[in-house]
């Protein structure tokens, strides 16, 4: 079907699906971000960082790990944490057993901010996504996103898998 040098174009159907996907993506992100910023005083990424920390043992996480968790570059995380630090939401602590490393630690104030922001954000997520879907559709969405979130196409089951 696909020959060397030839590229199989997207079908009309795929084209439409792809554009819907892009629009849905953009819409969800910008709306939730705007909402969260307004009601909770946080960015979507900042929120993600605080959540990750709050769920981690000792409310702390190494920078590298945290960067992977929230899917941002090392550099960006450094800046992000600096801002959160000067806002009092996070504190940096040197790592005992690896003197290159630092812990990003959620402060009480940060936890408070998070708890304050969470209900509104959850409501927004519901309104933007889950309230629109039947349970079956949520399942379908979960299945699809599980496939699409994987970076490496090699480790995949599925139609092209066998």
């Amino acid at each position: 079907m696909t020959r060397m040098g030839e590229v199989e174009w997207l079908s009309d159907r795929e084209q439409r699906v792809w554009r819907s996907l892009l629009r849905a993506q953009a819409g969800i992100e910008t709306e939730l971000d705007r909402d969260l910023r307004r009601t909770g005083g946080l960015t979507l990424v900042e929120y993600g960082i605080l959540v990750a920390l709050s769920e981690s043992p000792g409310r702390r996480m190494r920078m590298r790990r945290l960067a992977e968790e929230v899917l941002v570059s090392k550099s960006r995380l450094t800046h992000q944490i600096s801002r959160l630090e000067s806002a009092g939401h996070v504190r940096r602590e040197p790592c005992e057993d690896d003197r290159r490393g630092f812990w990003a630690v959620l402060t009480d104030q940060g936890a408070e901010t998070l708890e304050h922001a969470a209900p509104g954000h959850v409501a927004a997520v519901r309104g933007r996504v889950f309230d629109r879907l039947s349970p079956a559709q949520v399942d379908a969405l979960g299945e699809l996103m599980a496939i699409l979130e994987i970076d490496d196409p090699a480790t995949l089951p599925g139609p092209s898998g066998t």
Copy 2:
């Protein structure tokens, strides 16, 4: 179910789906952007702009309309177009019948750049999305994204609709 002042939290299932969604979103965007930048010398947004123009009659579009089409702010579009203009991909033309307005016009060079970038990008989209899904799954994805791309929850059919 939902009482005043109370917020219904996400179920475990929803939580997992939500995180998958976020990761899939981020993964798709950053990977396709990186790829497109490397092989085509364009940003995902720039690509979107050129595509929109190429498909519009006269290869041109008013700024406002274009901004809506590619889902960026007016301001950002101005800058974006300025860059594309100084790269020779786009040209601005004053609008005859509305002297406030401008056309963003795709140049031949821009069209060429686009055509050169497209195959690689399409291949990347395939690899990142469609090759991983069965036709039935593509249909399901399309249905879901069609629901989620809509901004205004009011104009919705669906489970909460009646």
